[in-house]
């Protein structure tokens, strides 16, 4: 497939995919984490059906890097906010802490196994551990929102899980910044920055561009000009930071965070960015899927298995902590922990960014681990999350017991149809009543 044809296909996917997903109001149908698009990419990629060739994929490297950085900008813009309110500081700390625990557990386990079964040097082992940790940290908010909105769940547990999954996004981004410091992008000039200076530069560029974006956004009332401001500052931040050997994704995350914090019109900025989320996310997932290869040059299967096991252990621990903090007796900590397994866009994005950044077998393994997490999380996570919420009494039992639950909106529509009664032909309809007649059969005010 030629690059032009691929680009056309991706644009069509962005358009129709967004339209479909938006119409189903927070994914009433389909898979919670959007893994179907990832699987489409895997199927049509060069390793399986071969509809997309490797050179075509390679030619999209720059565009993909910009797309991933844009997703990080969107994540940064709404970081720390859930359901229109700011996430409390304690819950932010809880989310970040649990994600950090997941990074350490999975990274250490994967690094240890890689040390035992491969001949990677210390630097590659460290990069592998950090990358696997980065892709294992988050619980995707998309899947959690999918379950909560689909079953109309409401209560302290839903709120806690929603808040914690919003907060844990910062950890993978920080890991990506560290990885970029250790292994700068191929096209950049490797500066002799110490690690802390590189991190400070990343934060500095992101903060400067975020403040610039917020200041210009606030004084500009025209939407067309606002688009120019956001796109211009975003591209400049990505390009300049990558040129200096820093992480473009981390820079745009900080930029989004700063812009949303400083702007007096945060809601407008977030709304503007959110309109682009699906249109960028869906092609990025397909491209990530197409990049996936299962390396046969080294025993990578044990690493993937250990990474998945480490993540399950970390989430079980998180489930126990959640249960203890809420003191809910009815909820099993194992059920809750397994319900936190869904991994989605951010995990896949982090894995994809590592694969593009490192361009070695290490990057391939990290991406394969990310995709495995997404698939395992998709199969296991929503089922157990629903069970946990039902145990907590936050889902109406009728909706939860339905084997294939129908979204609340569809049920409401069906009820309305039934209440309206059968549609009659015009000849069968009773004649229209005059005002005087209709008042006779209406509710008598007396």
């Amino acid at each position: 497939m030629s690059p032009i044809l691929l680009l056309t296909g991706l644009l069509a996917l962005a358009y129709f995919g967004t339209m479909l997903v938006e119409r189903r109001s927070m994914r009433g149908f389909g898979l919670p984490s959007g893994t179907e698009f990832l699987l489409v990419g895997v199927l049509i990629g060069p390793r399986f059906m071969g509809l997309i060739s490797t050179p075509a994929l390679t030619s999209f490297g720059g565009l993909t890097a910009v797309a991933l950085a844009w997703l990080a900008l969107i994540i940064g813009a709404h970081y720390g906010w859930a359901r229109g309110r700011r996430v409390p500081a304690r819950r932010m700390l809880l989310g970040v802490g649990l994600a950090s625990v997941a990074v350490v557990m999975t990274g250490a386990a994967a690094g240890l196994v890689a040390w035992l079964v491969t001949d990677l040097d210390w630097r590659d082992l460290l990069l592998l551990a950090m990358g696997v940790g980065a892709v294992s940290a988050e619980t995707t908010r998309h899947a959690v929102r999918w379950v909560i909105e689909r079953y109309a769940a409401e209560g302290p547990l839903s709120e806690l899980i929603g808040d914690a999954t919003e907060a844990d996004d910062a950890v993978p981004i920080l890991m990506l910044a560290l990885i970029a410091t250790m292994a700068p992008h191929e096209g950049s000039l490797a500066l002799s920055f110490p690690g802390w200076a590189a991190l400070l530069s990343t934060v500095g560029i992101g903060a400067a561009m975020g403040a610039t974006c917020a200041a210009l956004f606030d004084i500009e009332p025209r939407t067309t000009q606002r688009w120019g401001i956001v796109v211009g500052t975003g591209l400049l931040a990505v390009g300049a930071s990558t040129r200096l050997g820093l992480s473009g994704i981390a820079t745009t995350f900080v930029m989004g965070l700063t812009a949303a914090s400083l702007s007096r019109q945060r809601a407008a900025l977030e709304a503007l960015l959110t309109t682009t989320e699906r249109a960028v996310m869906l092609p990025a997932l397909v491209l990530a899927g197409a990049h996936v290869g299962f390396p046969d040059r080294m025993p990578f299967l044990p690493i993937v298995i250990v990474a998945v096991a480490g993540r399950v252990a970390a989430k079980l621990l998180a489930g126990r902590l959640f249960r203890r903090s809420l003191k809910q007796e009815g909820v099993g900590s194992r059920t809750l922990g397994l319900g936190l397994l869904p991994a989605g866009v951010l995990s896949v994005t982090a894995g994809f960014a590592c694969a593009l950044q490192l361009q070695t077998i290490v990057g391939e393994i990290i991406l394969a681990v990310a995709v495995t997490h997404a698939i395992v999380g998709e199969i296991v996570g929503p089922v157990f999350l629903r069970r946990a919420l039902r145990s907590a009494g936050e889902i109406r039992s009728a909706a939860a017991d339905t084997p294939h639950p129908v979204p609340a909106r569809v049920i409401e529509g069906a009820r309305r149809l039934v209440a309206r009664g059968p549609r009659l032909r015009s000849s069968e309809r009773p004649p229209k009543l005059r005002a005087s007649q209709s008042s006779d059969i209406g509710d008598d005010p007396r």
Binding site: G187, L216, I219
Partner: protein, 183 residues
Amino acid sequence: MSALEATQSKSASARLVQAAALVVTFGLLLTATRLAPAEAGVVGTVAGLGFLLLAGTLTSELIEALGIPHLTGYLLAGVLAGPDVLALIDRATLAQLGPVNTLALSLIALAGGAELHIELLRSTARSLATGEGSAFSGAGSSMVVFLRQRCWHGRRAVSKMPCSCFAQAHKQRRSLEGCCRAF
């Protein structure tokens, strides 16, 4: 809010913010290019595109306060950032921005064509002939100059002229509409 109203409503502090943002924009790319002077490939193109978008918008907004058209602002930002002055955008990046240039040209031509109303053209043919005549004659004479230079500098300069003409015509029409509304 129309473009004219939005521009007129901007206060001195807003202009100051725009000027500061322009300094930050130039400063960031200047630092990046001086610290990493090698040709940066795709990364350089991304940075260049973002810079041109932002710096062009800001420069045009700032010089509009002086009564100078937007187009001059875009050109000024381009000249300052180009390879012959500050070298923030190198020649390789300029070459890689070619498809963007072509796309922009196509969109401007498309928008220009879509905005033409035959009835309006008929009714205002005389005023158009006098009002726009000077602009087109200026553009025409520039084109002649560029055509003469073509044998030394290649075709690029000439190919960009229709873009300037369309942009100028579009801008003047917007300004006229704004003035009419104001009256």
